[in-house]
């Protein structure tokens, strides 16, 4: 009893000393920069791999199917619907168990069929990432490999017709690899620690690497989380050094840490989805870079208490559509009116919706999953209702990964 009465002051003193010492260490290793505050923890939002991306020839979607609560019986599917088709086609690359997840990067065609580079996330005993490249919209696939595991983010791969491919991997605390031709040969471009140690990195307070994009005429750009309030973590390489190339937020959002959730080159428009916020709430901001290099951005879309993004989609012009689950498991869809445009709430999708896609004609599809059954719901914008336009039974190989 005597010990417990005397302990708090002693403990408080020790704690105060520790805090003071920690502050001193922090000051010595990371001197404060103008306009940057490194005392806020960076965001660490885990964005699901459920994603859609529209190109000029159609929409590609990554959707989990099977028993979604059981990782070994959840099989990720790659689906494609060409622009004028009404039905989705199953184009999942074969030969690898994809329980860990799939990511895909389309390479828009110039008049012909799109190419896609798909990557398998590690799972169970597999700790590297097999790849699959298709130049005929999934009719056939060629294998490749990244000998590190791809980062579990939708934009872990990015490709371009001319500049090769980049991959964001989870090893060494996060690193970006580059391949100039053979998708089984990769070399390291940069690591998270290398970016964090640059002047730009210090001013950002780099958290996780969260996206990578190969932007024509600009090269590789890397999305990160930033603990510094208002700093948007998009890094590009210029004159031999990694620099911040994203905008700076101001106003209320300028006082909060950020995390790039998506970063894509959408038909020539660099488009990003940014999360800003703290423990009390998170908002989403759509961003798009104009040809002149300036960034425009949408107004913040608050996710609400307990809200979380369960799927993201990129429209053909670079605007985003998001599927959000509320604290009471209710589903909501918000879409931008064009790149970095205002957010517009759509009617709540049917239960079981796992992904949402906006086609090249502006049509909105909600993809519902019930075990092996995929249901395509189409929004009737005028009536504000969802209509079932098709179903597909996928031969889920239950038990094959157990």
């Amino acid at each position: 009893m005597r010990w417990s009465r005397t302990a708090p002051p002693r403990a408080a003193g020790v704690l105060a000393l520790l805090v003071a010492a920690t502050g001193l260490v922090g000051c010595s290793s990371s001197p404060p920069r103008e306009g940057a505050t490194s005392t806020v923890s960076p965001l660490s939002i885990r964005l699901p791999l459920d994603a859609t991306l529209a190109t000029g020839t159609g929409v590609v979607a990554v959707v989990p199917m099977g028993r979604l609560g059981d990782a070994l019986n959840t099989f990720w599917q790659l689906l494609f619907r060409s622009t004028n088709a009404t039905r989705w086609a199953l184009v999942t690359p074969p030969g690898v168990a994809d329980n860990g997840g799939l990511v895909v990067s389309p390479i828009p065609s110039r008049g012909g069929k799109d190419s896609w580079l798909a990557g398998f996330e590690p799972s169970q005993a597999l700790d590297f990432s097999p790849l699959a490249l298709s130049v005929d919209q999934g009719a056939s696939w060629s294998p490749g490999v990244v000998t590190d595991g791809l980062a579990p983010v939708p934009d872990a791969l990015s490709t371009s017709v001319d500049a090769g491919s980049v991959a964001l991997v989870r090893t060494r605390g996060g690193a970006v690899l580059m391949s100039t031709g053979n998708i089984s040969m990769w070399s390291e471009l940069v690591t998270r620690s290398a970016i964090a140690s640059t002047e730009a990195g210090r001013s950002c307070g780099v958290g996780d690497l969260t996206a990578v994009a190969l932007v024509p005429s600009r090269g590789v750009e890397v999305g990160t989380a930033c603990s510094a309030p208002g700093v948007v973590g998009i890094f590009g390489r210029a004159r031999g050094s990694w620099r911040l190339v994203g905008p700076r937020l101001s106003g209320r959002t300028g006082a909060e840490p950020t995390q790039m959730l998506r970063l894509v080159d959408a038909n020539g428009v660099t488009s990003g989805l940014l999360a800003v916020g703290d423990k009390t709430g998170t908002s989403l901001i759509g961003m798009a870079r104009t040809t002149g290099g300036a960034w425009s951005r949408s107004a913040p879309l608050p996710l609400g208490p307990g809200g979380r993004v369960i799927s993201t989609g990129v429209e053909v012009g670079g605007g985003y559509v998001v599927l959000v689950s509320g604290s009471n498991r209710s589903l909501a869809i918000d879409t931008e009116t064009g790149p970095a445009g205002d957010w517009q709430a759509l009617p709540a999708p049917p239960p079981g919706t796992e992904a949402v896609a906006v086609g090249s004609h502006g049509e909105v599809d909600a993809l519902g999953v019930a075990s092996t059954l995929l249901t395509d719901w189409r929004l009737d914008a005028s009536a504000g209702t969802w209509s079932k336009i098709g179903t597909m039974t996928v031969p889920i190989p239950f038990g094959s990964s157990s």
């Binding site: 990720w76 599917q77 030969g95 168990a97 005993a125 597999l126 294998p143 190989p397 094959s400």
Partner: protein
Amino acid sequence: MPGMGTYLQTKNPVIVSAFHGALFHQLLLVGLVLVALSVVWNILRTTQYRRSVAAGTITGPPATVMVPAEPVARRVLRVGFGMLWILDAVLQLQAAMPLGLPSSVLQPAASSSPGWVQHVVHFGVRIWTDHPVQAAAAAVWLQLGIGALLLLAPRGRWSRLAGLASIGWGLIVWVFGEAFGGIFGSGASWLFGTPGAVLFYCLGGVLVALPERIWSSPRPGRLILRALGVFLVGMAVLQAWPGRGFWQGSVPGKSPGALTAMVRAMAQTSQPGVLASVVRAFGRFDASHGWGVNLVVVVLLAASGLAFCTATPRLVRPALYVAVVLCVADWVLVQDLGFLGGVGTDPNSMLPMALVLVSGYLAISRVPVGVPVVVAADRSVSDSDAPVVRTRPWWDRVAPSYLTRVLAAIAAIAVVLVGAIPMAAASVNPNADPILAVAVDGTPNIVDLRAPPFDLVDQAGRSVSLSDLGGKTVALTFLDPVCTSDCPLIAQEFRYANSLLGADSDKVVFAAVVANPIYRATAFTNAFDRQEGLEHMRNWLFLTGSLPALDQVWENYGVEADVVPAGAMVDHSELAYLIDARGHTREVLSTEPGNGSASSSSFSVYLANALRRVINR
């Protein structure tokens, strides 16, 4: 096929057959010991007779000494626990014991205990899981031997040794088999067996191992009763403690109380219908009168505990009746006899506890007195507690009954050793019993056929044909380099088998042929090697080639490699061919991994042994 891991059922016929085989072989060994001891007994008795006749003492009068009879309290303990150990040994004979004990008894016993207890118990689980046949058979003989020793050695150092053996094995069972009797777990209750049945076996062992002279006063009896009295009062307090779920029966819309839930669970045990209906009926009664049942238990525990604390025969006697009735009621209605269901190892805590209570009461109420015993003054009766007449030669001193009991005790110790030695060997052997691999994969096909040739490239891009490997024994398997489950396990089994081979590894090449028609380039075999740490294994080859070349090899070796849609890995056969130095296939093994590290380690041992067989042919 990958992803279709085999789970061994508790009554897997291979394991059960091996268990029975081990018991039979050990029975033969015990029989041999008994025969040898019978011969020794015969020789000694013949010598004794001849020497006595020669010395003319055959008709001499026996010496008469005054020695106390074995105290009745001690005899109750010795005989009671001897019979309990033998009953436990018989229960260990159940076919489900080798594979069922870890999952159905050891792990559940520790499930509600803190992490460090589970960690300790895991050590025992690992030994049993890795060596199920050896451990299960050893437990039979250990317990049979201890029980026999207790019954056959009523007096002297052999009897005390039996007590010590009971303590030693009892503590092992209490720690690893009962997770310290659940005393560190949540939900501990006297009704459910706290502090563990085997702790009473240990207590009985301690009392048997004590010098017999301590029983000449009522002091040990008082000590026993007071200790158990305090224990019962403590258990009454624990039982009465609010918030532990014992005061409630079953309220609609809420989870049932702790006792109701336990009784309902026990009623599900496989058992005779009559007993199940009795237990279910009590469960229903407790569900509707949970508060009253707990009140009765608390009051009876506390009252009998306080009476035992007085150690006064007048108060202890009625308390003993109450406690024994309560023990029997709990044994039947809550513990459901404890040994049913196929993996019951003992009759739980109530019988041994009642035994100790009765012994305590007898120790304070029936103090032994000396009685004249007409025998030759030998150690068969007196041992260290009685005068010994050493003036006569041994054949005149040693009574035939003493000789018989000594040899019987030696036989019982031999039985203990038949169990203890394999159990000790299992506990220090890091490699699992290869019988597990046989249980998972079946017995290998023994053949002598020329192995189909192949011409492929290794992970470095060098051309490799079967003829290039001439002079070496080849372990050839088929692996998918981007497989997520089985193939990495099989690769690790091969790698470990290589390390088990020691110097013989120079005579062996471990080779895998790619079993994926899409991901078959060396980029994938190299990534796989790096993932599995095989890149520095100098006798490891991961072979691949063009699709036609691989197709030919798969066909020649009877391997299927089918691409499955919708996100599945390639479905391929899991086989290994052991090819001798002349290029002949000698054994074909299934490489399908079982579940858990035990079966994996077991396969490595099995593979290493099989490779040695092929090398030495």
